[in-house]
């Protein structure tokens, strides 16, 4: 029982990174129709930015959780304006290729600048150690990560369902043609939404900084699992991204605990099962997944 609770928390913490980043991926895909291969690289940049800011100006994690996503928002908007926008009218595969090239570029730039060994990151004292829950010692930081992820997901959900902006973005995400037909100017939302999606990847990166090795390559396995997450959840679905993220995190944690040899493969087995049973994903709709 203790072990189960521990692995659950561990899985939800890992799932938090996936859920946040996949949420960004889903929103970008919804509004722009772009599958952003560089999402893993943006996650890595978020972690690297947090480490560099801590090292140079001594910025604490608390502040980095706000500042880095804002930086990434601006960076994402720049990427959209400079690169992505030119290919939007064309086959969406072009933007997959473009963001793939961008990934190679960003990863090797970071590698050249900061080397291949990991950057150090000290977590704040308040977040280290363990806390006793039901007689089990759980790492405080993991609980913190889950808390932040749930808050952000809840915040995004409220933004999406309770505000006019959210309604518009959701409409553009779920049914872009219909939204356009109803007189919503979908094009106006493209740049901020891309930036917002990148900011979410950056936030996941900051949260991962005290938790994972910060290297240029840290996004390279991450992006593949992220793709599995959105295929499982359904590519155009916001709920699917979050649920898929936590689900994959849990599969990973329990897999590593009980079948370490197959842990990483299990995720893809799950994906294969979903592709066979529900090709559009758990929460996806057929026409969104064409």
């Amino acid at each position: 029982m203790n072990a189960v609770l521990q692995y659950t928390v561990q899985g939800l913490a890992a799932g938090s990174f996936y859920a946040l980043a996949a949420l960004g991926l889903a929103v970008i895909f919804g509004v722009l129709g772009v599958v952003n291969f560089a999402h893993g690289a943006f996650y890595m940049l978020g972690a690297v930015a947090a480490a560099v800011l801590l090292d140079t100006v001594g910025m604490s994690l608390w502040l980095a959780l706000i500042v880095v996503p804002l930086l990434m928002l601006v960076f994402g908007m720049l990427v959209e304006r400079l690169l992505v926008q030119w290919l939007l009218p064309l086959d969406p595969l072009y933007n997959l290729l473009l963001t793939f090239g961008l990934t190679l570029l960003l990863v090797d730039l970071v590698k050249r600048r900061y080397g291949v060994s990991g950057l150090p990151y000290e977590r704040p004292d308040a977040l280290s150690g363990r806390i006793q829950v039901a007689g089990v010692g759980l790492p405080v930081y993991q609980l913190f990560v889950i808390g932040v992820a749930l808050l952000v997901c809840l915040g995004v959900w409220l933004l999406m369902t309770r505000t006019r902006v959210g309604m518009i973005v959701r409409a553009a995400t779920e049914r872009p043609e219909l939204a356009g037909a109803l007189g919503i100017n979908v094009g106006r939302w493209v740049t901020p939404v891309f930036g917002f999606g990148v900011a979410l990847a950056g936030l996941a990166g900051v949260l991962a900084a005290p938790f994972r090795a910060i290297t240029a390559e840290m996004g390279s396995d991450f992006i593949i699992i992220l793709f599995a997450v959105v295929v499982i959840g359904g590519l155009g679905s916001i709920v699917g991204a979050v649920v898929g993220g936590f689900l994959v995190g849990l599969v990973e944690a329990f897999g590593q605990a009980y079948a370490p040899t197959f842990a990483q493969v299990l995720i893809f087995v799950l994906m294969a099962v979903v592709v066979l049973a529900r090709p559009a994903g758990l929460f996806g709709r057929e026409e969104a997944a064409a």
């Binding site: 290919l87 086959d91 997959l96 290729l97 087995v269 294969a272 592709v275």
Partner: protein, 333 residues
């Protein structure tokens, strides 16, 4: 919206090209291509020449899927790397002449492609790319875990180059190139035959208008699966030759970066042109070799930059652009 597959050439151009550039043009091209293939080790360090030939076939195999079917596979490393490991294991454990091992590897790649293809062709476009990518990465993790078989992180060492006891081929990469080149050329010829067969015309029909092809009674998914398996087999030939040429197989052969690299070669040369893949492969291998020898670390900065530039500004690719200019030279613009 134009499909990505016709980036290298407009549909009419492709049909003109398939229906026949004039026979003499084709013969000239073929002769030049053969001459370059035969002369390559005289001008380039022979192992690098072999790399170019192997990657060229790999890129052509990918183009079979991308250019003639509109399916962008981001997981072709599974077949290149899978065959590399299979070829290596066959060569190590059975001591057969290397062509036999390579064909065994290609067969293994085709067997791999059956389940992966079956799951992937249910989807097209972006989904297809993502699913192939994920399955290929799954194979990477499996190979990493099965270190008893694959050597894991250390790679598979000591792949022999046995060739009927002919010493020159077994030890000298210059002669090995000529022993392995027929395998590559056979693969190229097979790709060309597939494209120019009735089967290939059906593929183009599916690419251009799948619902119409379906209405005409073609089983679209079955055609896609067959071409997926064929493409995997040709990638397997290339990966097998690559493995024997290097004498060892390392995990990166299965990594998604390898899948991306061959996509880059195909896009750079020109999608849907076959020749484009050959040119793209040659350029990228030579560039990588040059950067490595000049001690520049960070090749991704260059290849990534090339990728972004080509996709933004130069979508026809090199061969696609050349052919476009050639075909439109006498038309009033």
């Amino acid at each position: 919206m134009t499909s990505i597959a016709t980036a290298g050439a407009s549909v009419t151009e492709q049909h003109a090209a398939i229906a026949g550039a004039r026979p003499w043009q084709r013969l000239v091209l073929l002769a030049v291509g053969l001459l370059v293939a035969l002369g390559l080790p005289w001008f380039v360090y022979p192992p690098v020449a072999m790399d170019i030939a192997a990657w060229a076939l790999f890129a052509v195999a990918l183009d079979l899927l991308l250019g003639y079917c509109g399916l962008l596979s981001f997981g072709h490393a599974a077949f290149w790397g899978g065959s590399a490991y299979a070829t290596g294991l066959i060569a190590i454990h059975f001591g057969v002449p290397f062509p036999v091992a390579v064909f065994g590897g290609a067969l293994f790649a085709m067997l791999l492609a059956l389940p992966i293809g079956y799951l992937s062709v249910k989807r097209s476009g972006i989904y297809f790319a993502m699913v192939t990518l994920a399955f290929a990465q799954m194979l990477f993790f499996i190979a990493n875990q099965a270190s008893a078989l694959t050597g894991g992180e250390n790679g598979l060492q000591g792949v022999p180059r046995s060739f009927f006891g002919i010493e020159a081929v077994e030890t000298d990469s210059f002669f090995f190139y000529y022993a392995a080149l027929p395998i590559i050329l056979l693969g190229m010829w097979a790709a060309w035959r597939i494209v120019h067969s009735p089967f290939g015309r059906v593929l183009v029909a599916i690419r251009d208008n799948a619902p119409r092809a379906r209405a005409l009674g073609y089983d679209v998914e079955r055609y896609k699966l067959i071409v997926f398996v064929l493409s995997a087999g040709l990638s397997g030939l290339a990966g097998g030759v690559f493995a024997v040429s290097h004498g060892f197989v390392a995990l990166p052969e299965l990594h998604w970066a390898t899948s991306g690299e061959v996509v880059l070669m195909t896009v750079l040369g020109g999608i849907g042109t076959l020749w484009g893949g050959v040119i793209g492969a040659g350029l990228i291998v030579l560039l990588a070799d040059y950067l490595a020898s000049s001690g520049f670390d960070g090749i991704g900065i260059v290849t990534g930059g090339v990728f972004v530039t080509v996709v933004l500004l130069f979508r026809r690719g090199i061969w696609g652009t050349a052919r476009h200019l050639w075909l439109s030279r006498r038309k009033p613009t």
